[in-house]
Structure formats: structure tokens, C-alpha cells
Amino acid sequence: MTMTTKRRVLGLAATAAVAAAFALPAAAQPIPVGHLMDNSGATSDVGVPYGQGVADALTWVNQARNGINGRRLNVLGFDYGYQAPRAVSQYQAWVNRERVVAIQGWGTADTEALVRFVTRDRIPYISGSYSAALTDAAGKSGRQGVEAAPFNFFYGPSYSDALRAMLQWAKQDWERRGQQGRPRYVHMGANHPYPNSPKEAGEALARELGFEVLPAIQFALTPGDYTAQCLTLKNQGANYAYLGNTAGSNISVLRACHTAGVQVQFLGNVWGMDENAMKAAGAAANGVVFPVRTAVVWGQDAPGMQTVRQISRISDPQGQAYRPVHYLAGVCSAMLMVEAMETAAQNGGQITGPRIRDGFYARQNWVPRGFEGVCAPVTFTAEDHRGTMRVALYRAVVTGDTSQGSVAELMSNGTMRIEPVTTIELERRRDWLGW
């Protein structure tokens, strides 16, 4: 073989190899998905179990279902420590360098800051923030400061709607207990977009329902000594107090108020109470009413729990771990995205941002396949991203000493219970959209 022919053969081989690389079916290329987590910041107490739920569910989709239509998900995780600027910087890296098609997000400050970006880049963004400002998909609410958010989704009732449901329950509770006069309501939380998000909506409805609304009380997102806040609460004579922060700092308030002997019915934000917080707060957590997003909690049974237990084994092969409510919510939000991607991929369709968004509109009363009885049904429309108006309220019940034993043991022996209180079906009022 002469030198030239050898070279020619090599050239041909190289061309063939390149051609083969390009001709590989698109099915083999993984789908890049961003996953923003708070594992080290102010909300990491609830960010860790939620992020674990999302991560496990997406890994499980790759392992058990071989990805989306044969294409595996390439999940790019990033711990941003609840620093909105870090999230924005990471978002730009994901979009420009990794070309993600969808993102599992987290906090209110970062999600609201990214609304304009994800709308421009047409990237579905499934947040852990349930801020009502993210629900105005077409921008028709006409509210000051609320922009159209056609690519923002979340699983569960918005913070505002959850608070509205708790206030309606509080009103009934007040009457049922035969109390006289007007009940007093107070909003508590940090001066941060997340606790601020439902503040006005809650106070407005409280007035509408005949509550006396007291001046809001501030406490930071991090655990600390909040005795002063509890004494204010006591002096004001509040009857119902909304805890707008996440579990970690709420525990501090609950314990301080327990010590100070404050008699008030606490209403927890959806991220404000869970099994871990109950164990940490002990008797102080007894009686807190809060919304739960899934139809069951860990340890209960439903057709879909079998799938969830398989997912849990991804990060806990022994199957010993107790998964708090946020883990289950993380699984459900991940699975909504997965199923919207499957819808986008149907009939050989491309998995692109706009097609995934349309996948969210494809079903009414939507429960992801295999999660029946776990994930609550949701409905999204092109104008209204309030997935659900049904708010299931539960009460944390602590009957004994929680310092001994694991969460799993305490839950199984009944020292800690999450008891259903009621389910409130809110009216889908137009003037509540985006608020």
C-alpha cells in the first residue's frame, strides 16, 4: 500500500466515523436538566429532603424507565446556598453552556428574579417556590410588579392560597370554639421575598373574614433567639399567627413561645413544618396547623406509594429512611416535569422548552402515572398556573418526649402524628390570580 492510498483510506475512515457520530439517533443523546438545590443555605432544612426527592425521582426515571422515550436525563445539580445571585449566575451557565431544556428550581427570590430570563429563553422552570406571583401565566392579572410567567410551574397550592385556606379554617375554628369578639391575626416571617410573598394576600382576606390584623412580626430565616417576638405576640394578644419561614427558624419561634407560655394557634407555611421539625421542637410543635401537598405521608399506604418506595431506595438501598413530606413533594414535582417531557416526546416530537410547557397543559386533574393516591391532582392552563385550589390541612400532634428515638420510630409509635384537619376547596377567583 502506498503512502497516498494509506492516507486516503485513513481519510475515508475518519469521514465515516464523523458521519456516524452525526448520524447517531437523537435518542442516544441525554437530555440536560438543571437542578438547583439549597443544601447549605438558610432554607437547607427543607431544601435537603426536597432536593433529594427530586434527584432520586430523576435517577429512578433513568434506571427504571430508561429515561424519556429512551433518552436519559442528564441532571446537573448545583447547591446555591439560597443566594439568589448565585442562582442567576448558574442559570446563565446552564442555558448558555449546557443548553438545559428544563430546570428544577428552589427559592422565591431566585425564581422570581429568573422569571424574565426563563420566559425569554423559553425554559420550563419547576420551582420549590409557590409564590402566587408565578401563577399569572399570561400576565392578565394586571397586578403591580407581576409579570407574565408562562414557563413557571410548581406542584401544590400557592403560598397565598394555602394561607387563605388556613384563614378560612381559622375563622371556622374560632366560631366552633364559641369565642367572642374578633379574632386577631398576625403575619410572622423574615423580610425576604419568600415569607413576604403571601403577606398582603393573607392580611387582605383576614380583614375580609372579620379578623383584626395586627402589625407583622419579623424574625430571620436562620434559627436564633426569638423570645422578643413571642413576647410581642403575647402582648398583642394574637389568636392566630402565620409562620412564613421554613422549619428551622420556625422551631426557634415555637420553642421560645412555648417557654414564654404564649397561647396562640400557629399556622405553618407549607415549608414551615414537617416531621423533622416536630422532632426538634417537641411539645412546642403540638397543634401547629399546616398544609400538606401529597395525599399521604410516609408510612401510610396508597397505590402510588410502591413507586415512591422504589424511588426512595435510590439513595437509601436498605429502605430504612423515613422520608418527610417535602421528599414526597419533590418526587411529585419531578414527575410532573418528566411526564410533560414524555408528552413532548410523543409521536417523535422534539423535547424543547415550549413543547414541555404544552405538556403541562395536556391533562386535567393530572396525576403522574404510577403515583396514584400520592400526588394530588393538578390542572394547568395557558392563563392560570394555579395547579390546585384544594388545600389539605393537617395538624402536628406531639404527645410525648421526642428527644429519644428516630423520626421513623416516633411516627410509628404514635408519639408524633400528622393528623388531617380538613380540606378546603378555594374558589378559583380571578382577582386572586398572581396574588
Binding site: 447549605s40 442567576v88 427570590a109 428574579a113 421575598p193
Partner: protein, 355 residues
Amino acid sequence: MATMTPAGDYRSTYREDMTIFPTRGSRIALWVGLALLCLAPLVLDRYLLHLLINIGFLGIAALGLNILVGFTGQISIGHAAFFGFGAFASAWAHEALHIPVALAIPLAGLATALIGLVFGAPAARLKGLYLAIATLAAQFILEDFFARARWFTGGVAGRVTEPFSLFGFAFDTDETYFYVVLAFVVVMFAGAANLMRTRDGRALVAVRDHYLSAEMMGINLAYYRTLSFGIASFYAGIGGALYAHYLLFVSVEAFNILFSIQFLGMVIIGGLGTIKGSLMGAAFMVLLPEVVQSLADMLAGGAVDRALKLGASISYLREMAIGAAIILFLIFEPDGLAHRWQQIKAYWKLYPYSH
């Protein structure tokens, strides 16, 4: 002008003594370096460009702090607040006053300089630790202002802003914005290098070296100390404004005390009282977390991780590494990277007969 540095001091005029480029080679090296940087967006990937852009705007702000700390001998632990003020001022000027971004950035620098003059006023009377505490107050006052002044900053929710644009062309990608930052870096660093050759620049150095002697020579201490704060804040403001229009989102939580300490770390690691050290320090601070991150990624799930049960705390390695780097530099290289760079150059100049 000589091509090589002569062996011995043959400078006979002040002009030769004050020159920025001692040899023709150094001048050519600078132009070649700039030309290479101009080609960077064509060859580097976006991740590296992102790091270079960060080095650029942080370097400008660090240079400001270096003028204050390294050249004038004052102290500030509120530099991040001025950086933040510049970021908010530029975003606000663009949004509320509809000033084009290209103009809003220098305006933000001037506005920050004014704020710096106000908060620098105590420097006229205070020294050392007392001044440090006064600047710490600036940090907290400004941070609180950012969280409350909704008209200016958007409150705790922050403010989304627009990309830099010139004559209808938007510099909204890493490739294009790189040139904007590069241009600012060149102007600001050339400005600082020349400032130090002027009468005012020499006065600043005199204040640092011995304030009593400086005063006896007729230097107005209060004036130059306050001026130094103004200049430092101007640089911080420009750096902050460049940051704002790169990230396109400004939020109060970014400008905390830790960030101020990081700026101090940059000038200490880079080298106090050197112009190029500021850029080196910024480069070190930007690249260190990336290196630690990749080390942490390698560790994650590995044998070391399991043995030490690091798990989630691996993400804290980053913060710890920065602290460790500052301590190690103070012990082993108190004159900073710029000094080390000089030594490396000297080594090769004298090779193989170095003493």
C-alpha cells in the same frame, strides 16, 4: 529606551524613574498580551470567559481597595457595600432615569464615589482599628439601606436589569461582554497606574509611609485620606455596575461582609501597593473556588469522603479554602503574588547565575 534592563541604576531623571515601561520589551509584552486577550472570545469556551469576566470586574474593585489600603494605608471592611451601591445605582439609573447602560456605568461610579466620600469622612480623624469599625458601619448601613429602599434597589426581592448596549448592539453574551469588561479594565488600570505618578498619587503614598512626615511636608492629611476613599469607591462602583449588567440581576444578599473580606483577601494575596497585584489577587480569588470545587467533586463519593463522612459539608470546603489561603499567604508570601512574580522574573533574568 533600552531593550533590556541594565545591570545597575542608570536613571538620571525623574521621568525615567517614574516610567511605567522600563524597557521596550515590557511595552511590547503589554500590547501583545492585550491583543491575545482580544482573541480570547474566539478560542476560549464560555466557562473560561465567564471566569475572565469575573476577574475583570472584581479586579477593578480590588484595585480601588488597593489604592485605599495598599497605597494610602487606610483600611476599609465595607468595600462590598460600595460595590453593591454601584451595581444598584447603575441598574436604577437605567430603569428609572432611562439612561443608556453605557452611560449609567460611569455615572454609577461617580455616585458611589460621592457615597464613599461621605463614609470616608471619619478617615479624616480616625486611624487603624477605629477606622476599621467606622467602615464596618458603612457596610451595615448600606446593606440595610439596600434591603429597605425599594424605590432604589427593589427591596429584598432585588432588581432585574438590562444588558450593556452600544448603538443598538447588545453585549449580552459572554463573548461580547468580555470586550466591555476588557475595555474598562484597561482604562481603569491605566488610570490608576498614572494616578500614582502624579503629585496626588505621591501624596497618597506619603500619607501611607509616614503620616507625620507627610503633614510636615505640607500634605493635607484629611483631604488625601478622604480623597482616597472617594477614588476607592469610584473603582468599586464601576466594578459593581459591570457586575450588574453582566449578571442582569442585583440583590442585596450578594454584598455582605464576607464579600468585603474577600476584597481584602484579594489585595493582600495580590500584593498591597501594587497595581497588577490587584488583578492577580482577583484572579486568585476567582480561580481558587473553581479549583477547590473540582477537588471536592473528585472527593465526593470517594474513599476520603466516606472515611471522613464529609457528605453535604463538602460544599463548605470552598469557604474554608479561601480562609486558609489568606492565612498561608500572610505567613509565606506577605508581599503577595505581585512580589512573587517579580522574583520569578528576576530568577530568569539572572539565570543561570542567580545568587
